[in-house]
Amino acid sequence: MVGILIRMKLRVLRHSLRGTQAGLTGAGALVGLCAAVVTILVATMDFGRPGVGVDVLAAVYLLWTVGWLFGPVFTGGGDETLRPEHFAALPITPRRLAGGLLGAAFAGVPAIVTFLAFTGLVVLADGAAATVVALVVLPLQLVFVVLLSRVVMAGLGAVLRSRRGRDLGVLLAALVGLSGFAIQAALNTVGPLLVEGGSPALSTVLRVLPSGWGVVAVGAAADGQWPLVLGCVAALLLVVAGLLALWGVLLERRTTRVAVSIGPRRGRTRSGIGHRLPPTRIGAVAGKELRTWARDARRRVALLSMLIVGVVVGVVPAITGGDTGPLPFAGLVVVTMACLLAGNLYGMDGSALWHTLVVPGAEAVDVRGRQLAWLLIVGPVTLVLALVLPGVTDPGLYPWVVGLAPALLGGGAGLIMVLSVYLAYPMPDQRASPFAAGGNPGLVRGLMQLAIALLLGVVALPEIAILALGSGTPAVQWLALPVGIGVGVLCWWGLGGLAQRRLAGKGPELLAQVRKQV
């Protein structure tokens, strides 16, 4: 059965790898290949101290394992080329299916690249006996990381299907966003410590974690410590068997239970700002948008990412560097992020666009209503941050922050609609995992999205000019505020109008673009 599933997966991959998708996969393979080569080079290095080679390689393999854990979260819910649901009606036991899907998991770029990286075990091996041990633990270590990643994603998938689970998922996405900084900090401090062999506790942790067992076994074989070698191999085998059984259970749950439907939370439907909007056409669109921002898991992920990036960019340098750095400008960072993340509103709504297209004249109000909703969400956060943060750090920056905020808010409200209408791309089904939030704009579309979002910088130019020219004379600098408000209103109105005309003229083309299945 493994053979059939592998052939099936390769066939699916061949059908889906076309154009930019193939290019992206190729680029990913190249990056992975570089990482694998670096890993092998690390394995060849001589650190001049016994045991350090094992520690360093164990640390590198821990990074690979972490990559397998978090990679799927970033790339949209893991490898769904073959879905367990497709095989639910077949007379196959869950455990056999798990075995088959595991086999198929090796047919892919990530597994091959990881295999190459793990050949570092053979490179590290000193002597014939150690080489034999390396050849034994290499496949085990590979099976371990692949299985661990599948089991964790399957477990998360099971949790994510309930509504409470979705909120948990949002939180998790937030943590993943932060973990990048944690890893960077860890590398800076841990790296030197490890090479100098200065921390026995750290080296113990690296060796005790399953990601280090293979390396430990190879190192122990070179020293002739056979009980330790056998222990490591047996432990790896045991963990792999346990994970496989667990995955079987999770697969069975996935194919025999359904999600309870996602409805509005009881008692919360009649409250909130959505109900205080005027009963006009624009009010209706804005109300619908506000509710969607609150209820669509993917939009919640986007909102939370916006806040987290704002906090990380503003606060983290302030803590680690001791300098207030960009902290006073956190509000402006939040606007910029919110603009980038809301650049595919029609793509997020998918084929629901038809509702707008069949109502005469709805295109114009749709654009304005969506702008209003975005401003209602981003505006208050930005204004609070802009009014509070300079006060606690450097009050001299008030003209800068307060002058730029309205310009960026107006510019953002205009640009999100231009982006959403001109550069929409289809996204996975709403019922999919919220981590499948990325969608895939394709290389060209992605770059153009980024480029247009950078126009937000252009919006800021007049104010920056005034602020720079008037530096030293606050009276002149405060002129940036009325100019900023003017530019903001102009952008909101003008760019929104551009989007309105495009939506009215090319509505069917936009619908065809966003309704594609991905």
Partner: protein
């Protein structure tokens, strides 16, 4: 007479909603069994539990004496399923989908190739055999789903809304295929909203509403002296609305 499918006290609850409330059903071998009921009555939920796609909260389902939830492998080998709103491996062509599903069921390569060709031809999908499933229309998806259900020559077919979105010519083809299947001793369970079709096609019918079976038996018995449609409206305790209110419509 042996039973092709038997449901006993089948029960399923989603949160506070009871979707299927202790359903009992007996489908004799060689029968053509229609399952009808209003929207949201629990038809799809019952059928999913009957074929091992949704775990019941209580009760049993047996297929030719095999308990579906105790021995799913044997039960699934006897059954061909067409679920409603199913997900298909979108990036395979129709021919590839049938081939891989057949191989996964343990059939040999030549048999799979021969049956795939025949099924695609009979269901008029041979023009689309090399197109990706993602590009199929709703009706074509139903037909390729039906082909995967028939591929391994099952003893029992469980089909959820098999005629939905299918064109009249293909619908007639499917009817003929199913009738031949029943004549040869197989059993078919299908759910449908089209009463005339059920009346014409089925030997037995069960009416399910609010998660309960309210009438079941040979079609002639269930409908009595009236048409099945009238009997259905009477049984589910409804009345056809639409004549009151809405005065603003087309005024």
């Amino acid at each position: 007479m042996t039973e092709a499918l038997r449901l006993e006290r089948l029960f399923k609850q989603f949160g506070p909603t009871i979707a299927v409330d202790h359903v009992d059903l007996s489908v004799p071998a060689g029968s053509f069994f229609g399952l009808v009921g209003p929207n949201g009555a629990g038809k799809t939920t019952s059928l999913s539990m009957a074929v091992g796609l949704l775990r019941p909260d209580g009760g049993t389902a047996t297929i030719f004496g095999v308990d579906v939830w105790a021995d799913p492998v044997r039960a699934k080998a006897l059954t061909g399923v067409l679920p409603d709103g199913m997900s298909l491996p979108e990036r395979l062509t129709g021919a590839e989908l049938l081939t891989y599903m057949g191989l996964l069921r343990g059939m040999d390569k030549d048999t799979v190739a021969q049956r795939t060709g025949e099924l695609l031809a009979v269901l008029e999908l041979d023009d689309a055999r090399d197109r990706l499933v993602i590009d199929y229309s709703a009706g074509m998806r139903k037909k390729i789903g039906l082909a995967t259900a028939l591929l391994h020559a099952p003893k029992l077919l469980v089909l959820d809304e098999p005629f939905e979105a299918v064109d009249p010519v293909s619908a007639a083809t499917i009817r003929t295929i199913l009738q031949r299947f029943v004549t040869a001793g197989g059993a078919v369970v299908l759910s449908s909203h089209v009463m005339a079709l059920v009346e014409q096609l089925c030997s037995h019918v069960a009416v399910i509403t609010r998660g309960r079976v309210v009438a079941a038996g040979p079609v002639a018995e269930v409908r009595g002296g009236t048409s099945l449609e009238e009997a259905f409206v009477h049984i589910v305790g409804g009345r056809t609305g639409g004549s009151e209110g809405l005065s603003w419509l087309a005024s």
